[in-house]
């Protein structure tokens, strides 16, 4: 049995990744806190998300230390999902386009916030 040799690695790498995940999460929270908008927001949030996901899968879930047969079984099939995401985003844009064009919805409508509804306060704290 290969069991006891299993996946044993120095603790140092876990601590480093752990700290890195904290830092990356703080960065993505900072993007919202400092109200970064537009393409910059999407780019930064997705960058930090992919870095976090990569570190969790490769180090915490030990994928970089696994044999190629298992790695491809894990990471291969989900690639198909990119096709689904691509198709659904094309479809979604098409549907909203036709709705704006033929159903007379206002493309510039703005969502209400809790502050609008309760008149100040927000976050469930009605004043």
């Amino acid at each position: 049995m290969s069991s006891e040799a299993g996946q044993q690695h120095p603790l140092g790498i876990y601590y480093k990744v752990w700290i890195l995940l904290f830092v990356l999460s703080s960065f993505s929270y900072a993007v919202d806190f400092f109200n970064v908008q537009g393409g910059m927001r999407w780019g930064l949030v997705i960058l930090f998300m992919l870095l976090k996901a990569g570190f969790i899968v490769s180090i915490f879930m030990h994928v970089i230390w696994e044999r190629m047969a298992l790695v491809l079984t894990i990471l291969g099939p989900p690639v198909v999902l990119l096709l689904l995401i691509g198709l659904m985003s094309v479809e979604g844009f098409y549907i909203s386009g036709t709705r704006y064009q033929y159903m007379g919805h206002d493309p510039d409508a703005v969502a209400l916030t809790p502050a609008d509804i309760h008149g100040g306060g927000g976050g469930g704290e009605a004043h």
Binding site: A5, T73, L81
Partner: protein, 220 residues
Amino acid sequence: MSEAAISGSGSTLADDWSADKQAYHVPWGKAMMWIFLVSDTFIFTCFLTSYLHVRLSTTEPWPVQSEIFALSFGGDPIPLILIAIMTFILITSSGTMALAVNFGYQRNKIKTFWFMVATAALGASFVGMQAFEWSKLIEEGVRPWTNPFGATQFGSVFFMITGFHGLHVTAGVIYLLTVAFKVKNGHYDKKGYEIVEIAGLYWHFVDLVWVFIFAFFYLL
């Protein structure tokens, strides 16, 4: 498996699939857990993709998440603060789980037990905060079929995705506690401690899913 350090190179791929023998050189439980996690990846991606689709196709404005999930501690509401705390709790629990796996392979039963219990406790507090967040939104009038802020689909996506993730966390807490007590009672002394790593895989996956939910549902 002392050659583990050099695995990951492409040359082993043909060897593992080219003969009438075991393809995955891992305990069967670990291979099964990975197959389950891959299928779970498909489930969560389908949820997130349907969220993408309804959010793109709706003509009503999407509610402003950072205002809805703001929380006030006496003063001005701080945007997304509860979600940020939940994110940090889940990352912390991933760290304690990684340590538990490590101590498991060192056959240190006491430390493994306590780090698994700590992981489960952090997971339980995550579920508690999620319950608080749900009750706050329900109080605000958010329902799967309606909400006072904007696009109707916001409610259904919120309850569906966070609910399914919360269910995974809850199941994980029960799973971790079960394994932790079995470790403590010496159940795995003869079988070996891969089970801790397998439970760890599940727990890290739950954290991984939250990374995507945090980005796509709360931040974007």
